[in-house]
Symmetry: D2
Subunit: 337 residues, 4 copies
């Protein structure tokens, strides 16, 4: 952390900064320039809030150097985190595909989808039973009934199941049925929920908030990791920008950035990232070319009657075709699908 004093900062204001650093058990390095003074804060200050210094008079700004995240960092752990989801390794050489409907609607829909995506090469089934919706009047998911249908479909197809959990008190229930707990974008900073899934010790797929920085994203992961739950998958799913032609703007830069900052696996959701079926294939290929460890894709047997997100869902035959197109891209970056 570097504390930059204002030009007109007084001697006693500098002293206050030095005292504060001392009181935190850290060391100060003072650089007095002709125009202003800069104070380097030395030692492990990863848990120190920049605000400790910003609130002092005479301070112009504070530049944090270590992200406060620690367990999530590549500095903490150099090699990639690789773990198994129902027998498939995520974070390793193989690219993992998760696919399924936005919402579980009925037995036929989820079973048909599971069998189709498994056949095409997906290793995990996605599907929501608890759906966070902008309006209280929209379909909110089938709840536990949906979880049961998902588990049945998963077992029939022989794959893993990923599903969203939206409140701390749901975690135990969802964990009974799911192999991976998903935290949705809107809940990325729902810290009570992050703590709860951390405690569950289930693998977690954490979606980036739609206006969260990469640093906030890694701090959210840190919440989960700090409960001694190391199995976290990061999911880039598009951010909110001024561009409205697509539902979100998929942040392709985030893939190499995350891969360099953290050891955790990184997957991409091209369905939410674009919001439109016709762009899912192009962006899926881009994600793998950029180094993603996997994809999570919405597939629905009949998107035209889907209760949610139909516009961005692939049909099973489109998904199958996409899987074929992804294969040479995976190989071009030295990986398998």
């Amino acid at each position: 952390m570097v504390v930059v004093m204002k030009k007109e900062a007084k001697e006693n204001q500098i002293t206050k900064v030095l005292n504060k650093i001392d009181s935190l058990g850290l060391k100060a390095h003072l650089s007095r320039g002709k125009i202003r003074t800069i104070v380097g804060v030395m030692g492990d200050n990863s848990a120190v809030d920049t605000n400790c210094f910003e609130s002092l008079d005479g301070v112009e700004r504070v530049v944090p150097l270590l992200g406060p995240f620690k367990l999530a960092s590549r500095d903490f752990k150099k090699e990639n985190t690789v773990f198994s989801i129902d027998g498939s390794q995520i974070g390793g050489n193989k690219i993992i595909i998760m696919a399924g409907p936005c919402a579980i609607e009925n037995r036929e829909q989820i079973v048909e989808t599971a069998l189709a995506v498994k056949k095409a090469g997906a290793v995990a089934l996605r599907g929501g039973a608890f759906k966070p919706r902008t309006s209280p009047y929209s379909f909110q998911g089938l709840g536990e009934e949906g979880l049961k249908l998902m588990a049945e479909a998963r077992d029939m197809a022989g794959m893993a199941a990923v599903t969203e959990v939206t409140a701390p008190e749901q975690v135990a229930l969802v964990a009974q049925y799911a192999d991976v707990l998903q935290i949705g974008a809107r809940n990325m900073q729902n810290f009570a929920l992050l703590n709860a899934v951390g405690e569950s010790h289930k693998p977690v797929l954490l979606k980036r908030g739609m206006s969260s920085t990469i640093e906030e994203f890694l701090n959210a992961a840190e919440y989960i990791l700090s409960h001694n739950n190391p199995r976290v998958i990061l999911c880039e799913r598009g951010i909110r920008t001024f561009e409205t032609y697509t539902r979100n703007t998929l942040d392709i830069n985030a893939i190499p950035v995350l891969k360099s900052l953290t050891h955790l696996p990184v997957v991409v959701d091209p369905s939410h990232g674009t919001g439109k079926r016709e762009y899912v294939a192009a962006v899926s290929k881009a994600a793998i070319a950029a180094g993603a460890d996997g994809l999570i894709i919405e597939v629905h047997p009949d998107p035209e009657v889907a209760l949610s997100d139909g516009a961005q869902s692939l049909r099973p035959h489109e998904f199958e075709e996409l899987m074929k197109e992804l294969k040479p891209i995976a190989e071009a970056v030295g990986r398998t699908l």
Copy 2:
């Protein structure tokens, strides 16, 4: 809702749209142009998801006309919602000021602040006992101990108390101590929490999410209102933009927009809206001039030692001075303070 067909849409695709409208109990108005066809969806479609149509082939886009929010709308209720918080009316002619520290730190701090802001004219004390923090290693608040201190300070000063609740299972506890439950920006779309505070029937101060549109904000309010809890205060607290000089960009436009779209009271948080003490006064005046019904301002007896948000907290004497400056502005817009 207007469904715009693609230029190349086929007759059977148009028929599918008409059938879908019919199946929802709504009426279609077909306009066939030389270039494309437009289908107006008539009837109350406020609970119909645009996705129902977007997912149909041949549809280019769907334009929603009625916001899905209904109870929150001025169309539903023309006159301002006015209700009492511990004897002070919010939403009426008088502008309501809430003030206090970001976090409750200890008995002295909260009592001293309460007495000072009450004396200067605040009608409610703010202060957090459960603090959502970006990093798991930052101070997370005193929890129930903090609530007790807040209640004691409030009683000593003779005012109302506003405090944040961060998880559904906390609601009952917090409701014992607080007069107004605050939903923080990060939880604006934590629907389980919105449902829980809706059920509590306590007044709720709902902060706008930092990247939430006005429409999403009103839909979040709708969640609370739909539980038959009409006492919701909307709080504009700045949005996230590309500008980083200030912590957030206070959306001043949102004040007249919200006042025209909804009957609910609208308050402004200039502390988070700017993030810097020296800009709080200017933006507070602007908010009142623009028509806000109140302000919620961070005040700390000694911001330099504050455990959070010190940089944006006013000192008691600065707050007192601000209150004096706000008075003529309130009068200039025909209101009292």
Copy 3:
């Protein structure tokens, strides 16, 4: 400027940084921490690009401390810049109102508007003769014919005239007719144009680009000032954000921020800032309450037939009413209108 080295930076990489600092005639202050090394760059480095250091191996990031702008800075000149536009002082105690149509359409329109806004208290007439339009097929303004009509209307009403210039080769022509040259938001970083208006020595109204930071805005002003043209008015006119309900998001924070960073006058354009007539009054009041030195407002005798921006133009009687409402706000902040 502070150069932060990577954790793994090698000794020879640090040496390269020190050598670079030396070669620029500046001094280095080295702070070696346990984890990483920080190098303060001392001396006047306002003209040094951060990129000089960012491109060096082993450098993690470079934190600029002095904005590169110098002549525009309050550090350079403490007191407000005040200058006269056709007899009215801008930047002083009096708040200056500029008003008129988006585009000059014909003699009747511009004369009628000039007389009406002058009568209501405006001191300058605005109106575009060269209109930058998103589509090449939209009305592009009357050109020189428009400038002549504007000058005639201005003379009849006895006020100043502000009009946009869109290319360097237009500057001489526009300067013949206008009292203030306006640089539009899309041209804020059209440096050839900034240089040309700098050379003209006419007063300049510089609009903030719709996605420009405050620092870029002040650097754009610096271009003009660096040609020894000190008469620059800064205009906040709304920035582009994710919120689409209003045309732009007026950045109210920018007013106190600019007033603290620079000595130049700051005005606000509530018409572009909101894009909707019904919100112009609220935001105009807010701007004055926040400390703006003036407003520039679109007024059209018949917005329903306006060739551009009709939706955000006030009618003359609405403008007159607004002027009455602004008066007590101006007085509440100790100013006159």
Copy 4:
């Protein structure tokens, strides 16, 4: 275009809308619902401003259906536009790589770079002689001297040259030396400049403005095309978002979106899109996988002494390596490099 009336719109307000449509030579389709009335505007309204209707009383909003761009549209021309740049076809099956330094600094630098990138497979040399810079005190390029050096280097290497033009009066000069005229992001809506390069009939590489929508981007291209200059290359170079970890956010979605909306070739600038050398390779691969027709990449023989953009410039050997990595990606999407 669809005109949506307010709920409370009066009969005479609807009549005004109908009359306006009639006066524009278009046809109206009226849909009267229980709650509100919708008016479809039929006929070719691509040159009609939505503002014509937004400014009418009683109108809630206007939904444009046809983008105002016409010549740029796939509807206008189904097959890809393919043209030759110094013998290489752009827009066809082969992916075109342009590479070179941000700024031309001296003879050695530009010649060395040209030879290196040509050898590695680039078909065009990039390099700036007129540099738009945020601060007036930064290096602004060598001007005509730079153009001469660029032309010399290009001729020695046997390739095409792409360079930026920043003002209308420079176009003739730059066109003498360059094979492709580049319009920088800051000038995307500098319409005088767009008109000037349109008139030049040289191929144009048009960069997307950092906060321009895809629709504005295509309208900017339309300005050039409307001067009967069909050789326009669109360049996605990252947009400005809240994320500051990377210099810009490369909008990968824009690639398939542009390829579907327009027949013009689309290239990507991963150097500005990320701002950091270490992420250029990943994003280059992603761009090709997503369907880009080419890349424009910054390469500098010694980025550590570059006068601008060193942090995002590859060294020649890094570029050479990248070219090898891109080859299998190009093949995986059925193209050649």
